[in-house]
């Protein structure tokens, strides 16, 4: 394999993985607090649309990214309000959020389907980016790729190195006990859900601001669901999200290249690969761990907290 093809595959993988890292690390924090938000796909698509619209009108990538982040947060606040204050079922509410996000973005994005925008460019650091192989692979990636990695680190640091992170984990483990000690379960969960929304919004924006310069209805194409699977794959451990995302990103990129090489498998089968891989990996993980108690699974995941005193 020649060097430039290798580099382009690797860069392709980082581009394919980053939206998954954003969405999954957000959802990981949410699930660690004991909330299951299945609305990731819906929050991502809203982020993708808002990022696109703001970039189109202002041309400012900063505002575009900010808009996507706030948009994801805003739509997740609906979920947070419904599940934390009205105590609705999290699974049903999350599914509704996804459907709502997909429908809303398709409707609001009607006028933009023919438009294109300027993509956010990869950075270029003098000297460092010019080093052969290492330069393009490490020092000339898209700024949002670096941001995604920083977010993973920050989430890890928050969960394991701060008191608030410990409290959040304790709430996910046993919300009644956390409440009994006097910690505000609802407030922590609300904030976690908003963070998850913001990250999903960023993940969505990455699609429309970095991957392709256009807006298309349903352009997240199930990445929100893969992100949910990634959280399980990672056993709720932050750094494993990166590993999982690279794996899934890698399969996506390889199947694209495979289509280019005229392999005699129809393109539809190849496009299925990342999703098939998700299912297969999750099932095999479960089989392997069947008789083991996993201490990192939040015990209260998806359970409604109802304060009795």
């Amino acid at each position: 394999m020649n060097e430039s093809l290798f580099i382009s595959i690797i860069i392709g993988i980082t581009i394919a993985s980053t939206p998954l890292i954003f969405a999954a690390i957000g959802e990981l924090l949410v699930e660690r607090s004991g909330v299951l938000n299945l609305g990731v796909e819906g929050m991502m698509i809203v982020g993708a649309l808002l990022g696109f619209i703001v970039q189109f009108h202002t041309g400012s990538p900063y505002l575009a990214v900010l808009a996507a982040l706030l948009g994801g947060m805003a739509i997740s606040s609906i979920f947070a309000f419904l599940t934390q204050f009205l105590l609705t079922n999290q699974v049903a509410t999350g599914l509704a959020l996804t459907l709502f996000g997909l429908g809303l973005s398709a409707f609001a994005g009607r006028g933009y389907t023919e438009e294109t925008i300027v993509l956010i460019k990869a950075i270029h650091i003098p000297f460092l980016s010019d080093i052969p192989v290492i330069g393009p692979l490490i020092f000339s990636l898209n700024p949002l790729v670096y941001l995604a990695l920083v977010m993973v680190y920050l989430v890890w640091w928050f969960l394991y190195k701060t008191k608030q992170g410990l409290i959040l984990r304790s709430i996910g483990d046993n919300h009644d006990a956390a409440h009994a000690i006097g910690h505000n379960v609802v407030r922590y969960r609300f904030m976690a859900i908003l963070f998850g929304g913001a990250m999903a919004g960023l993940g969505g924006a990455f699609l429309s601001l970095v991957q392709v310069p256009i807006w298309g209805e349903d352009m997240t194409a199930g990445r929100g669901w893969i992100a949910l699977g990634l959280v399980v794959f990672a056993s709720w451990l932050p750094f494993r999200i990166i590993l999982g995302a690279i794996l899934f990103g890698g399969i996506t990129v390889l199947q694209l290249h495979a289509q280019g090489f005229d392999i005699r498998i129809s393109a539809q089968y190849l496009s299925m690969l990342p999703y098939l891989a998700t299912i297969i990996i999750l099932v095999s993980l479960r089989i392997r761990l069947k008789n083991k108690t996993n201490r990192t699974v939040p015990n209260c995941l998806g359970r409604i907290f109802h304060s009795t005193s």
Partner: protein, 499 residues
Amino acid sequence: MNYQLEVSNITKSYGDLKANDDVSLNIKDSSIHALLGENGAGKSTLVKIIYGSLMPDSGEMKWDGSNYNPKSPFEARENGIAMVFQHFSLFESLTVEENIILGLDGVGLNENFTDEILKYSKQYGLDINPQQVVGDLSVGARQRVEIIRCLLQKPKLLIMDEPTSVLTPQEVSDLFVTLRKLADDGCSILYISHKLEEVREICSEATILRGGKLVQSCVPQEHSQKELAEMMIGKKLTELARSNINTGSDIFSIKNLSCPSDDMFGVDLTDISLTLKQGSIVGIAGVAGNGQDELMELLIGEKATDNDVLYFDGHDIGSLNSHERRQLSMFFIPEERLGHGAVPDMSLDENMLLSRPESDKMTSRDVIDWDIVSTFTQKVISDFDVQTPSGRMLAKSLSGGNLQKFMVGRELIRKPKLLIVSQPTWGVDAGSANNIHQSLIALADQGSAILIISQDLDEILSLCEQIHVLSEGRLSDAVDMKKDGLEKISQLMVGGESS
């Protein structure tokens, strides 16, 4: 004498129900004070008010002589009140140290707490390893974690809600050493319990509540256990006695039962053999987590055994499920009330129906006759004094003790040939426990065999004429009470644990 805490004329109502009605309580400096009462007597309400998680409707409290009206547990802790909960408020997936830090206000993660924890651990004889994950600890160790968590707040009042209900005799006496030391060091203790012999042993004063009202405050040593119990329940207690033990032929036997556990934290059962005669009450003592759950699972039929291991009334029942075993008149009262014993989100009527044997005629051609079901439920409710407005109440809405009475009653009215019961009076107050014990004896007197698995040694000693001890999945031979007595049982109970 100074009072650490003075509680005067507290009233708290929930709708029409007065949970606390003009209750007063004074706790002296450095004393161990008992709060006694049956389930529903208002103990928890009073404690929650003291701990700041409930606000009283009227009445006042003084702490160290000045007014005290806590609006949250944070405020109570700031004042120096700490509490060890009955159902431990620990986080299983976190380490001991993390759990302790979580309960401390204003302590960050960076501060190194390990030494501090070990210091208290040594000073009060509370043996724990700060880096261990709580999910792997025994119940007794978990309680030690809770106590240390409280001690780190340097409390002046430590509230303990039924601390010994889950401990072994050895752990109980260790706990008492710790508590006495604490009181000597100036920390008052409010000790909630319905185990009267313990209260008489360790508490210098007792406040007794009944039906939300104060009965009296007294010095427990000045009253007999029976007097205290009668003050709690407000009526005379009947002595337990088996008039004449008439045992018939063998009805149930376990032959060399061995079974590895499915759970990685479970206990493997090894070579268990046991025979029950008609009319006999046999007890299996032992500390929780020594194979009781695993044994119960097999006896109930939640898990099948090999053939030629379990025999009931001439049938090899190893492969029968629990419904099929019930048809043969084997009945069960499992330990876990919500989940194994009853469906939490279903009414008492529905729960009644679920454990029915075919012969009860509650259904005709699979159509339920609710009138018949509810006559059965009503009978249980009245015979066993279950406090509930009707059989339509959800199982989970009943207090633990009440639900236990319902479950015991549900099985007993079937007049089973064999009753297998785990922890028959766990969390049940003295009056009701007395009732349950008498019903069990009456059942045995009618010729039924009863197998009791319990951690409550007193219960086993007072009911059973044949006692075995389960330790690390092995069942001892019957203990000769006349010859070896209690000492032998205690020895066998801890025998498996090498420490």
